[in-house]
Amino acid sequence: MIKRSFIGLIKPRMKYEAIELTPPEPREIPAPKQMTLLLNEPYDPFGQEKSLQLKKGDPIKTGQKLALHEDSEAYVVSSATGTISALSSFIGDFGRSYTAISIDVAENEEIDEQFPALVKDATLETVKNFLAFIPGNLPNVIVSPDQSSTPIETIVICGVDRDLLITANQHAVVKESSAVKLGVQILKQITGIDNIIIASPEHLMQDAGLSGAEVRVVNPVYPASLPQLIMRDLLGRVVPAGKTCEDLGVAFISAQAVASLGKAFNEGRIPVYKHFNLIKKDGTSVLVSAIIGTPVRDIFTAFNIDAGEKDRIIFGGPMTGESIYSEDHPIQPDTDAVMIQDQKSLALVSDYPCINCSECIPICPAKIQVNMLVRFLEVGKYQEAVDEYDLYSCIECGLCSFVCVSRIPILQYIKLAKYELGRISRAEETNV
């Protein structure tokens, strides 16, 4: 943890982890005995109207596409061979519900034949049907662009990592540059978008240049690699409050996803190994490679980490991650880091009021009046927060909560407010 310096006049400056130019190979975790895949579609065993395609005991092969119903758009790709042991419902943050597909992994691996047959010719259709679940996650706006929204004109490849202590994307830029290069070509081919930019830290400029995309350098200080700030600093376009980068025709994709895309067509099989950082209790970070669906328990076992009562397990980095409640939680395509904190070193929040100390004002990259905003959010006046104190300008970097003297969970209030406002506006739309 980064502590306040004795000289408090200096604002905390948190640098992103910079990968070495010849990084060690990531440590590979063997395929687990049991794994879970989270399918982004709600599962309701009693109220299902459509018949289920999947059931307990179904044999599945590596690379096989699993969808809940015949016509559902959401699918996962199995990262191992085995049999389905259970289907259950899983509720994530802010009520997002998933279908958890548990799989007993068999010893012999069998490769599904569908994707290898299509590999000769890279088309958007193939990518949409088979590669939405590759390590690094392909964003929806690229795979299945919505006709009604702004067409994507620019693709930004993130050769930097979103959060502190993570090197997964930089690793893809350095070690998998040929796959990234092929991935960029495929991206251009399937989307027809020529304007592809790679955002990279300064010391990786050369490696990033090999990809064939236009290189732009990102400031190595948090939170410069968040999409809205990349838009402002690298593209010179400010995202209006309440809009997304996609609304301006810019899509973001991680370097790892581009590398996976390249590998898929190069090797003729869907990649299943996800690279991510394991941030241990002492704050050190190692790069790990494990198949998608591996429960975190297996990763902790491999590194002799003892996850005890009241410890905190986090998917993602220290500033923007999400904490999880079970060691069975699987590695997902977009998991860039798994972090564990000892219960003794947890920074807990408090219910103390804002004392107006002004720590959050100079540190906010979006220049929001956080001290006033939080007063509205605490009492649930969300619309006033939007109208008067720029709730929608927030880019969710978490720096305000990080420096808050009263330890108010400001970012949580902000996310909750956005979620509630979204719910209200959806309800109003359906009522009219």
Binding site: I2, P318, S323, L346, A347, S358, S393, S401, V405
Partner: protein, 319 residues
């Protein structure tokens, strides 16, 4: 399922710089100590009594209000102790016990708690209290009257009172160095200029107060006093005298910078500080009161919400 380990689940971010409200209060108390100790050495045991009673009664009022309002005890944050200490620093060493208990009641209950506690007070609680004490029991706060039994090797007339009643001639024998070293009459913690400046620099470096407010307050005092002095040197004292006497320094570093009642944006902080500094000299030179710091900062507190509307445009704001 039931033997499952229970993990701590919460929201991002999962790191914190480790600052806290209590550390803030205790650092301000720590920074005030040089000035307080100097006052104690100068005025002896009566000053110890005033400081001790003021701090303890402030804490007692806070816990009493917590009990009545059925809120969790909030004395642990050190804010009540800080209020008590700052109030004692402004008072003469001879302040009677009932004045202190009334003063801390006004500061803690009327100045802070009835608005909802820490962070919600529109005015600096210490100054609200001192203003009410000044208006109610003027004689107990007249330094010339109450410190009459102290006799030191240096003049014991309250400098600002001398200036007000007898003009520049009466203060011509006061040397800036002597004023800085605390050889003057005044409140327990307000006379030792050097100690206050050191404490202020400590707080600025540690980031516990906003330097913009302190510096612009001092600049406001200096510039306004200089203008008056240039116009009529025979009537109005020079800027250095105004900086080193009365509550100017304690006001700049400990009172104007109170978190809740001061602005947070850069330009508003400058306006707020400079405005309070200017008003201080205006009240001293042409107003009815001997020292203007108390009312000047209270008036600045009043306009704080308004000036703090001057703020940078948020990222992506359309209008």
């Amino acid at each position: 399922m039931f033997e499952q380990k229970k993990f701590t689940v919460s929201h991002a971010p999962f790191w914190h710089v480790g600052s806290s409200v209590s550390a803030r209060s205790y650092n301000i108390i720590f920074a005030a100590l040089p000035a307080v100790l100097f006052g104690v050495f100068t005025y002896g045991m009566p000053a110890v009594g005033v400081v001790a009673l003021s701090v303890s009664s402030a804490i007692t009022w806070e816990i009493a209000f917590n009990k009545i309002a059925r809120r969790p005890p909030s004395i642990g944050d050190g804010n009540a102790a800080m209020i008590g200490l700052l109030l004692a620093m402004l008072l003469p060493a001879t302040a009677p016990w009932w004045l202190l208990i009334t003063g801390t009641f006004v500061a803690v209950i009327i100045g802070k708690q009835i608005y909802g506690g820490i962070g919600a007070n529109p005015f600096n609680p210490v100054l609200v209290s001192l203003a009410i004490l000044t208006l109610s029991w003027k004689n107990f706060l007249d330094f010339n009257e109450v410190l009459v039994n102290y006799d030191f090797s240096y003049p014991m007339a309250y400098p600002l009172a001398s200036l007000k009643h007898f003009g520049v001639f009466a203060i011509s024998n006061l040397k800036p160095a002597a004023l800085l070293m605390g050889r003057q009459s005044g409140g327990i913690g307000a006379i030792f200029g050097l100690g206050l400046i050191l404490g202020g620099i400590y707080l600025i470096i540690r980031g516990y107060i906003r330097w913009e407010i302190s510096i612009s307050f001092l600049a406001g005092v200096w510039v306004t006093a200089l203008l008056f002095n240039m116009v009529d040197p025979a009537h109005y004292a020079g800027p250095v005298f105004h900086l080193l006497t009365g509550y100017t320094l304690i006001g700049a570093f400990f009172l104007a910078t109170e978190d809740s009642s001061s602005p947070v944006n850069f330009i508003p902080m400058l306006i707020y500080g400079a405005g309070a500094g200017m008003l201080t000299v205006l009240i001293r030179n042409i107003g009815a009161f001997v020292d203007g710091v108390v009312f000047a900062i209270l008036v600045a507190n009043l306009v704080n919400p308004l000036v703090d509307k001057i703020r940078p445009k948020a990222l992506g704001k359309v209008i």
